[in-house]
Structure formats: C-alpha cells, structure tokens
C-alpha cells in the first residue's frame, strides 16, 4: 500500500447542465477536489485525465505539471489513472496527482465530434451494419450468456431494480421513482433483449481525485482512501472481436491483478461499484472478478443480494443506471467508493472498510479495477 486518495469531489451539480462546457466541468470538479484535500492548484505536479488532453486541462487550471497522462480508453480510464499516478508517485516522478473528468455527455457543450474516419477498423467492419452507439454494440453479448447459462430476462431486469432501490434514497440521483421487474420488461425495447430501463442515463457532470503517497495521507482534512490493489487490461477494439461473449477477459485480467496486489480475498470486500453502462455489465463483472462462478450472476441479482439490505451492497449511489452517466462513468464509481470509505455517502453502508471500484472502457474493450481501504494497517 503506497498511495492514497486524499481529495475526491464531483461537480457542484450533475445531470443536465447545458450552461457548462466539458472542460469547465473538469475544472469545477478539480477545484472542488482540491478544496476537499485542502490544497491549491500550485500543490499539483501531475495531471491525468481522459476525454480532454491533459495539456488542455493543465493549461485551463494554470498548473505546471511534472507528469502527464492522457490515457483515454473510455469509462475505466480513471481507474487506470489512479494506478498510473500511484506508479509515478512510487517512482518519484511526481508527488501530488490530480485526476479529472468532465463531460457534457448529454448537452454536448464543448465536446469533440464523434469522428468517423471511414478507414478505421470499426468503420470498415462494424459501422456498415447499422450499429448506433453503445446500445446496439455493448448489448450484443447478452444473448450468448443467456443461451449458454440460462440467464433470464427477469434476472437481467433485476439488476436495474436493485440499483434503483439505492437511487430512491439518494437526492443527487437522477432517476428515483421505484421500479419493478415488470416495469423494466415493459419499458421500450432499445435493442432486443435490452429495454430502456436496462440502459444507463446520459448526463453532464464531472469528478476529480487527488492522489499522494500513503505516508502523507494523514496530513489532509478527510479520511484517506488507501490504494490497496489496482489492475487494468484491454481485450478488443470492436465488440465483434470479443474472445468469448459470455465473459470479459479484460475484466478478469484487471480484477486478478488488483486482488493479487491487494493480497485479500473476495470475502474481504465490504462494498462494490461495478460500472453499469447496461444491466448486464455488473453481471459480467460479478463473474469475472470471481465473486460468483461463471453463469451464476443471474440468480444472485434476482435474489436482490445487491439491493439495500442485501449481503453484497453494489452501486450504492444508484449507478449509471439511475444516478448519473456522463459517457465515462468510472470517475463516479470511484467517488462513491471514497464516500463509503469516509462514511459520508448519501446512502451509507455500515462498517465499510474495503471497497472495489471496477470499470469498463468501450464495449467490454478495456477494464480497470481499484481496491481501496480506509484501514491504514491493511
């Protein structure tokens, strides 16, 4: 255990924010995280971010960096940034790292274009077939999982229901109306077998983190979230090239790295944040990270074990399905892990000592995993 998160904050508001540009959201989150850590921008010597160039973010905040990382592989980029910042601090390349996220995912203010160079691999081998963003790509593996393991529509819908139960109690969550499995299955079909309520939100917002060496961590105002284990990996750039559509290799590699580094067992995890771009994503995470066997995630969710009162508190902010999802949700998963470890979450789980934040990038393209603890002796 060599580093810790000592500053963590989201933008003032999340949701629909047409009055703020993407880079403005980076900066707002950054300044809030610096406040949280009791630091100023002049204390920062490393800038890491995705979506925008770290050069642009450093310039916007007027920071002089000794270390830059623009790893931008989708929503798990921020798990990787914590990993990379930790390695850089360990190597003596920097001391105080700022990781930022800001995205006008819904309002599209100050965002780059979607791009679409016709010679890219995706343009040659997937786009001619009418894929329309994540809802028609990320969703393709589900039927294979259902076919091989008997996973049911009701089981997948249960993920959205359990997640909503947390959101009902969180004032910052965008979607707070209670829902049932029937509501999910009666909602509009987006890409069969996926219904609207099994798809994440599309919102604006941001978040930022400050990472320092563990031995400095107690010098800050808030309880530190020590970085116990980290992992990252990638698998493919196109969903059609996924090795086995019933499991994510990237999830598995990333998760195993994090658990091996942390030196703890799955049973030691008190709280989990599994990126839920769609209802099946946490099912794949539960299996790949080794909390259940292959094909066993469906019944686990159907039994409401991840809902409030269950034995596996998951996505306790309401997740991407009900809390917020700017396009790169991973930052918000880490924020909630930190809040739970500090004891300041909107829906606080009692006695959280160890939390796992696991993110996906693209359509199962990449993964990043963090295991965090508030126990300095760990």
């Amino acid at each position: 255990m060599t580093t810790a998160i000592v500053g963590a904050a989201e933008t003032d508001e999340i949701g629909v924010l047409p009055g703020k540009s993407a880079i403005q959201l980076h900066a707002e989150a950054a300044l809030n995280a610096l406040d949280d850590a009791g630091l100023t921008k002049d204390d920062i010597d490393a800038v890491l971010c995705a979506g925008q160039s770290p050069v642009a973010v450093a310039e916007y905040l007027n920071i002089v960096p000794n270390y830059l990382d623009g790893t931008s592989v989708g929503g798990c980029s921020f798990m990787m940034h914590v990993r990379h910042a930790s390695a850089a601090i360990r190597a003596g390349l920097c001391t105080t790292a700022l990781i930022t996220h800001g995205e006008s995912g819904r309002s599209r203010v100050g965002m780059g274009g979607w791009g679409g160079a016709r010679q890219m691999l995706q343009a040659q081998f997937e786009e001619p077939y009418g894929v329309a963003g994540p809802p028609t790509r990320f969703t393709i593996p589900i039927l294979r999982h259902m076919h091989e393991y008997g996973t049911t529509h009701e089981q997948m819908a249960s993920v959205a229901v359990a997640t909503r139960r947390w959101a009902e109690q969180n004032p910052r969550a965008m979607m707070r109306e209670p829902i049932t499995v029937e509501d999910v299955l009666n909602s509009r079909v987006i890409a069969w077998p996926v219904h609207l309520l099994e798809c994440c939100l599309v919102t604006d917002g941001g978040g930022a983190l400050v990472v320092v060496a563990a031995e400095r961590a107690k010098d800050f105002p808030k309880k530190p979230a020590y970085v116990l284990g980290t992992g990252e990996s990638s698998e493919h750039s196109m969903i059609s090239q996924m090795i086995d559509m019933t499991e994510s290799r990237a999830f598995k590699v990333s998760g195993d790295l994090a658990f091996n580094e942390a030196g703890i067992s799955r049973k030691d995890i008190d709280h989990a944040m599994f990126y839920d771009a769609f209802a099946h994503t946490p099912m794949f995470a539960l299996e790949a990270l080794g909390f259940v066997g292959k094909g066993e995630s469906g019944p686990f969710f159907e039994e409401m074990r991840t809902a409030p009162g269950g034995d596996f508190p998951l996505n306790t902010n309401g997740g991407g399905l009900s809390y917020t999802h700017t396009g790169m949700y991973g930052m918000f998963a880490i924020q909630e892990s930190v809040r739970q470890l500090r004891g300041e979450a909107a829906v606080q789980v009692a006695g959280v000592k160890t939390s796992i934040a696991h993110g996906v990038g693209g359509m199962f393209h990449a993964a990043g995993t963090l295991i965090l603890t508030n126990d300095e002796r760990a």
Binding site: F125, P128, Y129, A132, R137, T139
Partner: protein, 138 residues
C-alpha cells in the same frame, strides 16, 4: 436497401473488399499455425507469423449472438427493427453482419442457427457480406 455508412478499404483490407465485390468471402489464415482469422492483418494474431495467405471462406457459419435494434443508425430508418449479428464462420473467426431474409423476431433467430453468406452491392467499390438462414432463398 439501407444507406449504409460505407468503408474505405486500406491496403491490408483491400483483398477482402475486392473479394466481396466478386461475391467471395476472402479471409486469411496462417501457414505456420493453420488458424484462420478475421479482420485482415498482414500477420497471424495467434502466433505473429507473417507467413499468411488469403483464401475464400465457405460462407457458412452459425448465429453466435445478436440484438434486434429498434434504434436506427443513420441510413437505417426505414429498416428498423433490424438484426445486428455476430456470425461465427465454420472456419472459426467471427464477424459482425446483418441477418436478412427472415422477419426480425427472436423466434426466427435461435442462437447457433446455421447461416450462410449473401452479398449486397452498395456502390461501385463496396459490396457488403450479409447472412441469411442456411437454405433460405432470400
């Protein structure tokens, strides 16, 4: 026919797109480890050998997984809902495609259903491979 976003072939993929124009599914295999692979690359993704060759695949395969998209991509508005599928070729590799020649309903599209290739010309340069249930006349 949907107005598909059409690709621009690159040097290492040109033989594939030349093949589809002739009604042939040209893919590659490795002479060292004998495995077939897709998408086109000038080396084997399994053993990294550069000793690779093009061949014409059988065009037969099975429906590995799919969605029925109710959300039209640009150009597909008149075709919704439509099937975005992953087909596993008999030779091993998988590729994205559309399933045509059958009403897009789950009961018509059992996972692992045998499928076969058919070709649809889009422009002078681009013909895309699509798949239909094996033995159908679509």
């Amino acid at each position: 026919m949907p107005k598909r976003p059409l690709p621009e072939p690159t040097p290492e993929t040109r033989e594939y797109w030349e093949g589809t124009k002739r009604g042939e599914l040209r893919i590659q295999r490795c002479r060292s480890c004998s495995k077939a692979y897709f998408y086109p690359r000038p080396f084997c993704p399994w053993c990294a050998s550069k000793d690779v060759e093009w061949f014409t695949a059988s065009g037969k395969g099975k429906l590995y997984s799919y969605v029925i998209s109710h959300r039209p991509a640009h150009g597909f508005q008149d075709w919704t809902p439509y099937v975005i599928a992953i087909v596993e070729l008999d030779e091993g590799p998988r590729m994205m495609t559309n399933i045509i020649g059958v009403e897009p309903a789950p009961e018509n599209l059992p996972v692992d259903m045998p499928v076969e290739v058919t070709f649809e010309q889009q422009s002078d340069d681009i013909t895309v491979p699509l798949f239909r249930p094996a033995g159908s006349r679509a």
